[in-house]
Symmetry: C2
Subunit: 414 residues, 2 copies
């Protein structure tokens, strides 16, 4: 088999751990597999380099900052290749421009366009472990680019796609993807198999195990992703195409996002296009508006409520206050907000074929007297906005109520 | 004019100093010049990276060690380009594979074969300062290589040669090349102009201001090299083709090398080829044999004395003891050595046309009762081996005796 292994910063954080990774790569190779390994910078290194650059220029979206931060992965691949050879194995390191990982020119968050797999295949032919720098690429002009936080996940899956690998193993400091945050819910269960779509919803909702882009790539190219611990041999979580049995699992996971704020705008004229006019300036300012609710009132006006990232709330309110007068006349006192909210979501592909998930969710929350402020739904997800003080209680109630502490086969029907 | 500036590790050792270098680059550009700047790693960084690698593998002559240590310069160029832009200038960084600095494949001490100057010219055309990573290159296969200690000097001169630059300014933490070590001789004088050949003799004899290879390159391509301080605006030392006036300066500098040991082999058969047979195994072991003296004795035997680097003395003696029996029969007790020696040299192109330098040198040493153990001469250099305890005294005596504390025009005849 051809296996791509990706190790995060914690897994290569010390020389000892790098030697541990080297052992694992060789073990996999000795089982008869071809091994390409993608590594991140040693833990703390990317932040150290970013801070160095920030002493001169705060904006990290810059060609030169990418030149600087990409050195973190360069050191890691050199050390890991040395460590594999010190154990008697064969290895060769590859940088973004050597593989070559072609990206667009969006510095600090470039997207991969193509990968030349031939140099890696040549390494395999020579019996070598191919040690590839994560997080980095080159644009068409040969400038060094980086892929954004968690970008090494994306490198790993992209390399796996380019090589048509049998699996991409993502080694991390947790042993898989959980039904919810184990720090909040003690009996959270490790998920054995999950679909790309569910993983995308869980990742974007705050379960920060995999970079979203890597899951998208995995889905696009059908790369089976295995999220597992670099400190144990236990199987972790497989992220794979949707399977028939997954439908029986109505809810796969429950998440909470606490970094949200709610904004309400009252007494808007109830005419077509008002929502677009209100929200366009926020989009122009790159503020992501999420859950949106519009209410019609009896006097021909309308209210609009939506959430924005907590960090953008102040900026959003300023923008609204300056644009609303143009929209409705000279009154700006109609904007209010609430920073003490959170968004709780249940995710599961089974929802497509099972009715009643929403009803069950609302009933469970009501049983704990948790008031629901906003609701939004997709095919495989239901999210509610509630007061932030209920975050943990809501998570525990839903986790228990949907039986997520039990193995999938024992959860029973709704 | 087109000027290449090279800054060493101390000159870019902190963010403040990098900003200082940025100011100097821009100042030069604003005077109407095109500026390419070559930088080393921040001071201490190359050693930090080498130590990291040495925790896994001690031998630094390795493809992967070059991958690791070359990141030091990569960080420097990114930071300097940021700093130039933060001051309102335009800049772009170039790595070895971007310039591109093609080398052979001798990792850790590669030699430059060619440079593609077009990317740098394109930067000039865009009004940018070209910020180029020193010390690194790529071989034909695209592997990263490094040029050895002091390699950034060589990068600077090679870039200047490729661009047919008007000058290569080497910025360092001293303000030029001195007539001798100012730490030993208080009235050592800064040399204003010196020939490449003299500089080569001074550099190889211990005045470690410039990497020898960079002076060779400068001589080959006729690049005027200006060694000067990054902490002042005062002119430093120009290293240039030999000029007519230089002849009037009989002695340019005096140096001492204390890291030498003397080895004597007695009672060798006085037959052709004995020197070659004796020294060949040392050359095979990469031990550099310097001053060599062979004495004929009355009984048909010969003695041979030579110097080796102090660090190689033990190894050299072991090799000699194992090879001499083959040469002369079964006696190995004829090898003796002395670690307490030093090599004192006077250098000057004026020696070519001035007789009497040797006589003057020996007279001066005799006046202080310093016994000369070995003598070797070249066209522009006379070296003597004396007891190490005389190192400083010999240096001061010769420096004063040849009038090096005076301006060249006031030194008078021999």
């Amino acid at each position: 088999m051809l296996i791509v292994q990706k190790y995060g910063g914690t897994s290569v954080g010390t020389i000892d751990r790098i030697q541990n990774v080297a052992r694992r790569c060789l073990e996999t190779q000795r089982q008869g597999h071809q091994v390409a390994v993608v590594v991140s910078a040693m833990s703390g290194e990317t932040n150290r380099l970013l801070k160095l650059a920030a002493q001169i220029q705060e904006d990290p979206n810059d060609r030169e900052v990418d030149v600087i931060v990409s050195t973190g992965e360069q050191v890691s691949v050199g050390l890991l290749a040395l460590a594999i050879r010190a154990l008697g194995g064969k290895a060769r390191s590859f940088l973004g421009h050597q593989v070559k990982i072609q990206t667009d020119s969006t510095f600090a968050r470039a997207r991969i366009r193509s990968i030349e797999a031939d140099p890696v295949r040549a390494a395999f032919a020579a019996g070598e472990v191919a040690v590839i720098a994560g997080f980095q690429g080159v644009d068409e002009a040969g400038n060094i680019t980086t892929l954004g936080r968690g970008g090494s996940d994306t490198t790993g899956v992209a390399i796996a796609a380019a090589l048509a690998a049998d699996a991409c193993e993502i080694y991390t400091d947790v042993d898989g993807v959980y039904t919810t945050d184990p720090n909040i819910v003690a009996d959270a269960r490790k998920i054995d198999r999950i679909s790309y779509e569910e993983m995308l919803e869980l990742a974007s909702l705050g379960a920060k195990v995999l970079q979203i882009r890597s899951v998208e790539l995995g889905m696009k190219y059908g790369v089976p992703i295995h999220v597992r611990s670099s400190f144990s041999d236990a199987p972790g979580t497989w992220v794979v195409p949707e399977e028939k049995e997954m439908e029986h699992v109505v809810v796969s996971g429950v998440t909470v996002a606490k970094d949200e704020a709610k904004i309400t705008v009252e007494d808007l004229p109830d005419i077509p296009g008002v929502a677009a006019k209100l929200l366009a300036p926020l989009a122009d300012a790159s503020i992501v508006v999420d859950v949106i609710l519009q209410n019609q009132s009896w006097d021909g006006t309308t209210d609009m409520t939506f959430t924005v990232p907590l960090a953008d709330r102040r900026r959003a309110v300023d923008i609204l206050r300056s644009t609303i007068p143009d929209l409705v006349g000279n009154e700006a006192e109609r904007v209010s907000w609430d920073d003490d909210v959170c968004k709780v979501s249940v995710v599961g592909v089974g929802m497509r074929s099972h009715a009643g998930v929403a009803k069950r969710m609302f009933t469970l929350l009501a049983s704990e007297s948790i008031n629901i402020q906003l609701i939004t739904t997709s095919e495989i997800k239901i999210s509610v906005v509630v007061a932030k003080k209920y975050a943990e209680l809501a998570l525990r109630t839903l986790h228990a109520g949907f039986g997520l502490h039990l193995p999938p086969t024992e959860r029973g029907a709704l």
